[in-house]
């Protein structure tokens, strides 16, 4: 009797998991009626953790992939994630212009060549000061000049501090581009060259995909990744850990490998923001290129591909 019981229990659990995965909370469907949608057991078992905390084996045929989270509507995307205030810290002493952040960002957002949302600028304050590499993203200002001037509320600021664009609404007047002192915004002058599967999907303000002809694009702090509790692509792509990302309310930022208390990091390394005098109150902080890991010259070779 014992083995039979076990197999029955497993079967029920498997049905529960499969139904949970495939049908969600559909009340009309009996989750225990396995095989109702014509699924035949394949004989191949997969180990899973049950809701009770037991390790169970489930037939592979009953498992179906489902998205991590339901799609976020553009109305929800406008609100943002309650209780959060996202910030980025860019440690200039770690940057050697590898541009991995840029290529990861371009890949993740299906950006066309030349449409870099992240730019890595060679900076030099004055004749006798030292040059350094400065990656720039959208600053996600708390007083965003771009949002102020937008005539149709196509670009907006959320309660979690992220500034996004609704490309379904943007009229392409480019006033935001003129208003942004950080030159962070990029315009789709022509029809973006995208695979049909990407181009035809409905626009999401959190993924900023797909980019559309005649509208503005820019760094979105990877709001979709953030919602899943994951790091923006630039942060995880940088092998030197230049980018830190986190929540100001939790006072913690991480580059994936190291996690710091945000306030300590800013205090210890004398963090600052760009063009503080303009009063835009950016959400991106910089740590000065002191005690740097790489000489400036090591990044020069990599700069030639786009800037020669």
């Amino acid at each position: 009797m014992e083995p039979e019981n076990n197999s029955r229990r497993d079967f029920l659990l498997a049905g529960l998991v499969a139904a949970g995965l495939t049908t969600g909370c559909n009340p009309k469907k009996d989750p225990f009626e396995a095989g109702a949608d014509g699924v035949q057991a394949s004989g191949k078992k997969v180990k899973l953790l049950s809701v009770d905390g037991d390790v169970i084996e489930v037939d592979e045929a009953f498992l179906k992939p489902v998205p991590h989270l339901p799609d976020v509507s553009n109305a929800e995307a406008r609100i943002g994630i309650p209780g959060k205030k996202f910030v980025m810290v860019i440690d200039l002493s770690r940057c050697k212009n590898l541009k991995k952040c840029q290529s990861a960002c371009n890949f993740a957002h299906d950006l066309n060549p030349g449409h870099n949302w992240i730019k890595v600028n060679p900076m030099k304050g004055a004749e006798h000061t030292a040059p350094y590499w400065e990656p720039t993203t959208c600053m996600h200002c708390d007083e965003p000049p771009c949002v102020k001037v937008c005539p149709v509320d196509a670009t907006f600021k959320r309660q979690d501090g992220i500034v996004l664009i609704d490309s379904d609404r943007c009229i392409g007047c480019r006033f935001c581009m003129a208003a942004c002192p950080y030159s962070t915004r990029v315009f789709n002058w022509g029809e973006p060259d995208l695979p049909a599967a990407v181009a035809n999907q409905p626009y999401s303000a959190e993924t900023s995909i797909p980019q559309k002809k005649g509208t503005v694009g820019k760094c979105d702090f990877c709001a979709d990744m953030t919602r899943m509790g994951m790091l923006p692509h630039c942060v995880s792509a940088c092998p030197n850990g230049t980018f830190f990302y986190g929540d100001l309310n939790e006072d913690s930022v991480t580059n994936g490998a190291d996690t710091f208390r945000f306030s300590d990091l800013i205090k210890d390394k004398a963090g600052y923001r760009l063009m503080e005098d303009l009063g835009t109150k950016p959400s991106v902080y910089y740590l000065p290129p002191a005690g740097r890991n790489f000489p400036f010259e090591s990044g020069l070779e990599n700069d030639k591909t786009q800037n020669s």
């Binding site: 840029q102 030349g114 870099n116 730019k119 890595v120 600028n121 060679p122 900076m123 720039t136 000049p145 102020k148 001037v149 937008c150 005539p151 149709v152 509320d153 196509a154 609404r169 943007c170 009229i171 392409g172 007047c173 480019r174 006033f175 581009m177 003129a178 208003a179 002192p181 950080y182 030159s183 915004r185 990029v186 315009f187 789709n188 002058w189 022509g190 029809e191 002809k213 005649g214 509208t215 503005v216 063009m275 303009l278 786009q306 800037n307």
Partner: protein
């Protein structure tokens, strides 16, 4: 008796005339330029703004320069009609209709060119669905619409007595135009009551149009001045734009005066005295504009702030120096010198000065928009090479030229349909002088 013969003569002189061959060629050229522009715009709609040479840094180009230019020119309607009228300037009366025609033509194409500049013009309605009153663009939409309707009414109301005269010449105007005239003004009987009502309405519009005119160009200047950029971040911008607008508007009226006078042989009605007086107005406006230019450039030049130095050097001695000094010399300095002499205020020199002022003003608008955008705060980096320069593409030139041609076409059509010089006012004035 002699008086009424003279009156008939005035009417005959001032009635709108059919185009002769030269007129038809002129219209043909304008239409051809417009058609090339329409084709260029078709390409722009199809492929996107990528057909222009605007890119992420110079994201506004000659479309926006042209927009500012048109808004500037349209201000002349309020200057000649309203300011002169309220100030009791009698000699300006024959010029009011020319000024209003220019104003209406220019404001129409200001609206057209701003739609041309949009990346997604098919979403124009979003301005009404989602308009945010905080945005200076919405202010511009509101005031330009208001200004357009007031200008149209200021063209229309003073026309009513003239339409009554036009309706008497059915065989001369032809059945189509006659029908149009009676549609526009058959209700106008010229009674004392109607006259008083019309006078009251025109006075009210004259008072209303002045603040609206100041607002449209001030708001247009704020499209730039509300940003942080070197060269735009200026508290002087509103006044600087208004002064420049009155200047280019007056210049364009002088050009139009000369052309209409020669073309339609209106020497009796637009006299050297008119040119002399417009010359005095023009020199005053030039001096005013020069003053605002000194304000705009001298103090930043004195300080040479790091963020502005690149931009200022580029204007004064760099890649824009030729255009800059051409615009200043041709548009302001030389006109002042020429107009200070009495012989400089004769019709032909005035015509040339008018052209200088208008051409200088166009380049000035170009210089207001483009050099600033080529001097952002952040370095121009990690972008394709072509993003770092700007010279308009043929599509941009074609569309811009078409918008200029379109304005002239509207003015041409208006002066084909309506008397260029108000007939009734001229008659009244004539009767007064005879008495």
């Amino acid at each position: 008796m002699e008086n009424s013969i003279k009156g008939e003569q005035i009417i005959q002189d001032l009635l709108p005339r059919k185009f002769k061959t030269s007129g038809r060629i002129w219209v043909g050229i304008l239409v051809a330029i417009c058609l090339v522009g329409v084709y260029a715009y078709y390409r722009q709609l199809r492929y996107g703004l990528v057909v222009t040479n605007m890119r992420d840094y110079v994201s506004w180009g000659i479309y926006i320069s042209n927009f500012v230019f048109f808004v500037a020119i349209s201000l002349v309607g309020s200057l000649i009609t309203a300011v002169f009228r309220l100030a009791g300037v009698k000699w300006g009366a024959p010029l009011t209709r020319i000024a209003e025609m220019i104003a209406v033509g220019a404001i129409i194409f200001a609206s057209v060119i701003i739609i041309v500049d949009m990346g997604s013009p098919e979403r124009f309605y979003n301005l009404f669905l989602y308009g945010r009153i905080q945005s200076p663009i919405i202010w511009d939409v509101i005031v330009i619409t208001t200004y357009f309707f007031i200008s149209l009414l200021l063209l229309y109301y003073p026309l009513l007595p003239d339409i009554k005269i036009l309706l008497r010449f059915k065989e001369k105007s032809g059945p189509g135009l006659h029908k149009f005239y009676s549609f526009l003004g058959s209700f106008w009987k010229g009674s004392h009551k109607q006259y008083l009502l019309s006078k009251k309405a025109i006075n009210a519009l004259c008072v209303a149009i002045i603040p609206v005119a100041f607002t449209i160009h001030t708001v247009t200047s704020w499209l730039f001045a509300t940003t942080y950029r070197p060269g735009w971040d200026s508290t002087n911008f509103g006044a600087y734009f208004i002064a420049g607008a009155f200047l280019v508007g007056a210049g364009s009226v002088v050009v139009a005066m000369y052309i209409f006078r020669t073309w339609y042989h209106l020497e009796k009605y637009i006299t050297p005295d008119h040119f002399d007086k417009m010359g005095r107005v023009l020199v005053l406006l030039c001096l005013l504009y020069l003053y605002f230019n000194v304000n705009e450039f001298l103090t930043p030049f004195f300080k040479m702030k790091e963020s502005e130095a690149g931009y200022l050097n580029d204007l004064f001695s760099g890649s824009f120096a030729l255009t800059f000094w051409f615009a200043i010399l041709t548009g302001i300095i030389l006109p002042i010198i020429i107009l200070l002499f009495k012989s400089g205020r004769k019709p032909l020199p005035m015509f040339i000065v008018g052209i200088m002022v208008v051409v200088g003003a166009w380049f000035k608008r170009y210089l207001i928009v483009t050099p600033t955008l080529l001097h952002p705060f952040m370095p121009m980096h990690d972008v394709p090479q072509m993003y770092k320069h700007y010279f308009p593409s043929w599509e941009e030139w074609a569309i811009s030229m078409a918008s200029l041609a379109g304005t002239m076409l509207i003015i041409t059509i208006l002066c084909r349909i309506f008397p260029i010089i108000p007939i009734q006012e001229t008659l009244d004035e004539h009767h007064e002088t005879v008495k």
